[in-house]
Amino acid sequence: MSKQLGFLHNSEKCVGCRGCEMACKNEYQSDASVRWRQVYQLREEDFALPTRIFISVGCNHCQNPECLRVCPVGAYSKREDGIVIHNQERCIGCKLCTMACPYNRPQYNTTVKKVEKCNLCYERLDRGEKPACVAACVPEALEVVEINEELDYKTGVLKTLPGMPDPKITNPSIRFIGPKQGVQIRRDV
C-alpha cells in the first residue's frame, strides 16, 4: 500500500446534524435497511460535562480489516490508497463480515439480500471530487485525510474517543479532533 486514506472527524465542529448520513444516502439512493454512514451521539457520562457530542462514522477502511479476512468469497479488497472496497456482485449475503466488524459498518441490505458499506466514494475521489459526506458537511467537520505519522503527531488529533472500540483490533483509518466543552451555567448544579 502506498498510502492509507481515511476520515478526520472534528467533534468540535460536528453538531450531529446527520447531513453527512443523508448526503450519502442521497448520492447512492441506498436502501432504507442500511446506513453506510451513521452519526452516533456519544454517551454523556463519558465526558466531563453533559453536552450533545457526536461522531460520524462511515467505513473506517481499516489497516487490518476483519471483513476482508473473514469473507468467504473474497468480496473485499484493499486498494493501493487503502480504501477497502466491497464488490457487491461477489457477495453471497453470508453476513459474517457484519459479525466481524467492531464498528457495524458492513450492513445487510434486506431488499437486495447482500451486504453493503461505505466505499469512501472512490469513484468520486478518482474524479477529483470529495466524498458526498465530506462535500455536504455544513460545519465542515469531516475531511478525507492521509493517515500517517505526521497526522498522528499533530496536536489534538486523537486515535479514539470514549465509546469507540479499541483501535488495536482493526487499526481503523479514522482520526478525531476531540470535542471542546465550553463553560456551562446549568440549573441542576
Binding site: 454517551r43 463519558d46 461522531i55 462514522v57 473473514v70 469473507c71 468467504p72 468469497v73 473474497g74 483490533i169
Partner: protein
C-alpha cells in the same frame, strides 16, 4: 448475533453430529478389525444405516446452511477465499467430507469391507471442518467467542450427539463393551461440556461484552431449560446406565438422545442469540 440463526443452528448441530457419528464408527470398526471377528448381520445392517444416517445429516446440514445466505444459489463462491477465510475452509472441508462420505457409503454397501481407513479419513476431514466452523466465530469483535470456547463447544456437540445416535442405532447390534464405550463417550462429553461452561462463564466477566452475554444467558429461561434437559438429565440417565451391568434399555438411550438433541439445539441457538459484539457506545 442477537438472533436464533436457525439455519446455522441446524447446520452446525447436525453437521457436527454426523462427524461425531463417523468418528464413533471409526472407533468401533478399529476395535473390531483388531479382534478379527466376523461381523454379524445386525452389525452389518447397523453399519449401513449409520453411514446412511450420517450422510443424510451432513447433507441436510449443508442444505440448511444455504438458508442463511442472501444468495444461496451463489454459495459455490464461498470456496474462493481459502487464503484467510475460515468460512471458505469450512465449506471446503465439509465438501470434502461429503465427497469422501460418498465413497464410504459405496464401500459400506459391500458387506465385509474393512471401513477403518475410510472412516478415519472421513472423520479427519470432518474434524477439520468442525474446527474451521468454530474458528469462523473466533472473532476479536465478539469477546464471548474469542477464545477456545467455540472450538470446544462444537467438538463436544459432535461427540455427544454422535455417540448417542450411534448408541441408539446400535442398540441391538453393538456388544456390551462397545455399548459401554459409546455411552461413556457420551457421558464424558456431558461432563466435559458442563465443566467447560462453568470455566467459560467465569472467564466471560473479564470483558463488558462477555459479561453482557453471561447476563443474557442467566436471565433466559431457555438457558436453564437447556441446562436441565441438555446436561442434568443426560448426566443422571447416563450415570445410571453406566453403573448397570446389562446393556442399557433402548428406550433409555432414545430418551437421552432426545434430551441431548434438544439441549444442543437450544444451546447452539443461545450461542448465537447471546453473543454481544464490541460496538460504538452511543445513541444511534
Amino acid at each position: 448475533m442477537g438472533n436464533w440463526e436457525w439455519p446455522l443452528v441446524i447446520f452446525t448441530v447436525l453437521g457436527q453430529t454426523a462427524v461425531g457419528m463417523i468418528f464413533c464408527l471409526w472407533l468401533t470398526e478399529r476395535k473390531r478389525s483388531k479382534s478379527g471377528a466376523a461381523p454379524s448381520p445386525e452389525y452389518q445392517s447397523f453399519i449401513k444405516s449409520s453411514v446412511l444416517v450420517s450422510g443424510l445429516l451432513l447433507a441436510v446440514a449443508m442444505l440448511a446452511s444455504l438458508f442463511h445466505l442472501g444468495q444461496p444459489l451463489a454459495a459455490y463462491r464461498a470456496l474462493t477465499h481459502l487464503s484467510t477465510s475460515w468460512l471458505s475452509r469450512e465449506i471446503l472441508f465439509f465438501a470434502l467430507t461429503l465427497g469422501v462420505w460418498v465413497y464410504l457409503f459405496v464401500l459400506s454397501r459391500k458387506p465385509g469391507t474393512r471401513l477403518t481407513g475410510i472412516l478415519a479419513l472421513t472423520s479427519l476431514l470432518g474434524l477439520l471442518g468442525i474446527i474451521s466452523s468454530a474458528l469462523i466465530y473466533t472473532l476479536p469483535r465478539v469477546p464471548a467467542w474469542n477464545n477456545l470456547g467455540p472450538v470446544l463447544f462444537f467438538l463436544l456437540t459432535g461427540l455427544l450427539l454422535g455417540a448417542l445416535v450411534i448408541a441408539a442405532l446400535g442398540r441391538k447390534a453393538l456388544g456390551q463393551a462397545e455399548m459401554k464405550q459409546t455411552v461413556c463417550l457420551a457421558l464424558g462429553s456431558v461432563l466435559a461440556s458442563l465443566f467447560l461452561y462453568l470455566f467459560y462463564f467465569s472467564g466471560l466477566k473479564v470483558t463488558p461484552e462477555g459479561g453482557a452475554t453471561a447476563q443474557i444467558l442467566f436471565a433466559s429461561p431457555l438457558f436453564w431449560l437447556r441446562a436441565v434437559v441438555g446436561w442434568l438429565l443426560p448426566l443422571i440417565l447416563l450415570l445410571v446406565t453406566v453403573s448397570k451391568k446389562e446393556k442399557p434399555q433402548p428406550g433409555l438411550i432414545l430418551l437421552v438422545l432426545t434430551c441431548g438433541v434438544v439441549g444442543e439445539l437450544l444451546g447452539r441457538g443461545l450461542f448465537y442469540l447471546s453473543a454481544v459484539g464490541i460496538q460504538i457506545l452511543g445513541l444511534l
